[in-house]
């Protein structure tokens, strides 16, 4: 299963949500499918995408939030899973692409390559609905289900360690940041 195919499968479902991604391949591939003002690519601060998503979800409980994370990033902020579980925002969907490597920096294997189970960690942290999928069909069905669920979910998608030819995005992170904040303004203020 390739991450780009998974992203393509959920791309339309991301239209009206606040979407926060990590840096690297996830950001570049989502961007390549077509940037939207409601997409925020966290190009640094590794590990904090889920915390950013939590902040948005708590500040705007009526808005649906999707965090698109990676195994390397989640491993840098495992405690964040316990914080997510503790507040369990019903409007947050956490998708973790697990390619068992730090692809953007040379493909060094992460601990998921030797058996660490992020969905298991998420469940043990207290996120009741956390599961792993490894085929596109099951990913598409599970993601669609999670995105339609009123409750915190975590979906770990096992994907191949392949990425885009280029990580270049023609969008400065500050432009993205201000555009995203504007997109999150309540409509009467927009």
């Amino acid at each position: 299963m390739k991450r780009i195919d998974c992203l393509e499968a959920i791309y339309e479902d991301l239209a009206d949500r606040a979407v926060v991604t990590i840096m690297g391949a996830v950001a570049a591939e989502l961007y390549s499918l077509g940037h939207r003002p409601n997409f925020f690519y966290l190009e640094h601060a590794m590990g904090l995408a889920s915390s950013v998503g939590l902040g948005i979800a708590l500040a705007q409980p009526e808005r649906q939030v999707v965090v698109i994370d990676g195994d390397g990033s989640v491993l840098m902020n495992l405690g964040g899973l316990t914080t997510l579980a503790r507040y369990a925002p019903a409007n947050l969907t956490h998708i973790v692409f697990d390619n068992e490597s730090l692809l953007s920096v040379g493909g060094f294997p992460t601990a998921t390559s030797t058996g660490s189970d992020l969905a298991g960690v998420a469940r043990a942290a207290g996120i009741q609905r956390a599961r792993t999928v490894d085929r596109l069909e099951t990913f598409t069905a599970a993601a669609s289900e999670d995105l339609g669920t009123d409750g915190l979910t975590c979906l770990v998608a096992k994907v191949e360690a392949v990425g885009p030819a280029s990580f270049h995005m023609d969008l400065h992170l500050l432009e993205n940041r201000f555009e995203f904040a504007r997109a999150l303004r309540p409509s009467e203020e927009a």
């Binding site: 926060v20 601060a45 904090l48 950013v52 902040g55 979800a57 500040a59 992170l173 999150l184």
Partner: protein, 173 residues
């Protein structure tokens, strides 16, 4: 425990007065009353953290979604959050109001706190984070308001050091 409840209340009310409605916190002795007050306030969202760096992400998300927030942490929590502060709040120009208990400074008796106290101000300065100290109860409200204003106008982290004089009622031996 001689943590000043009355001065904690002044600090808490100053945060509320400055429009803060999300407080991230990781407990430490001087912060206990502040955290309890946030927990008891139905209009405040208290986020109990596993590690202080999470607060940077939460505040960034809250700001992008239009909410004011603050983070309550010990100076060691500030030190633990430095990467998030630099590569999150500073890189992305996000206001980040930190209330930092100033452990290991003058009058500290806990020897395990004394090392970190040497570096709190120096690290704040090294990061060019503007900071002030809250010492007297009657200066708290204005300083919190000014810090919030600066953080929002500069889109930057700002630090307020919660001093021993303000937070701790036991006389210095």
């Amino acid at each position: 425990m001689p943590v000043s409840e009355s001065n904690s209340k002044i600090v808490y009310e100053a945060l509320v007065g400055a429009g803060v409605r999300i407080c991230s916190a990781l407990p430490e002795t001087w912060l206990v009353h502040l955290i309890r007050m946030a927990d008891d306030d139905p209009d405040m969202i208290l986020v109990r953290l596993a590690k202080e760096e999470e607060a940077v992400g939460i505040s960034a998300g809250a700001h992008l979604a239009g909410a004011r927030s603050a983070a309550l942490m010990q100076n060691h929590g500030f030190l633990a959050a430095v990467n998030g502060i630099v590569s999150g709040a500073m890189l992305y120009r996000v206001p980040f109001l930190m209330l930092i208990s100033d452990r290991g400074h003058m009058g500290e008796r806990d020897h395990w706190q004394t090392e970190g106290g040497k570096y709190t101000r120096r690290v704040l300065d090294a990061l060019s984070i503007q900071w002030d100290e809250l010492r007297a109860p009657d200066e708290v409200e204005l300083k919190v308001r000014k810090a919030t204003t600066l953080s929002l106008s500069s889109l930057s982290p700002v630090g307020l050091l919660l001093s021993r004089d303000l937070m701790w009622e036991e006389p210095v031996p």
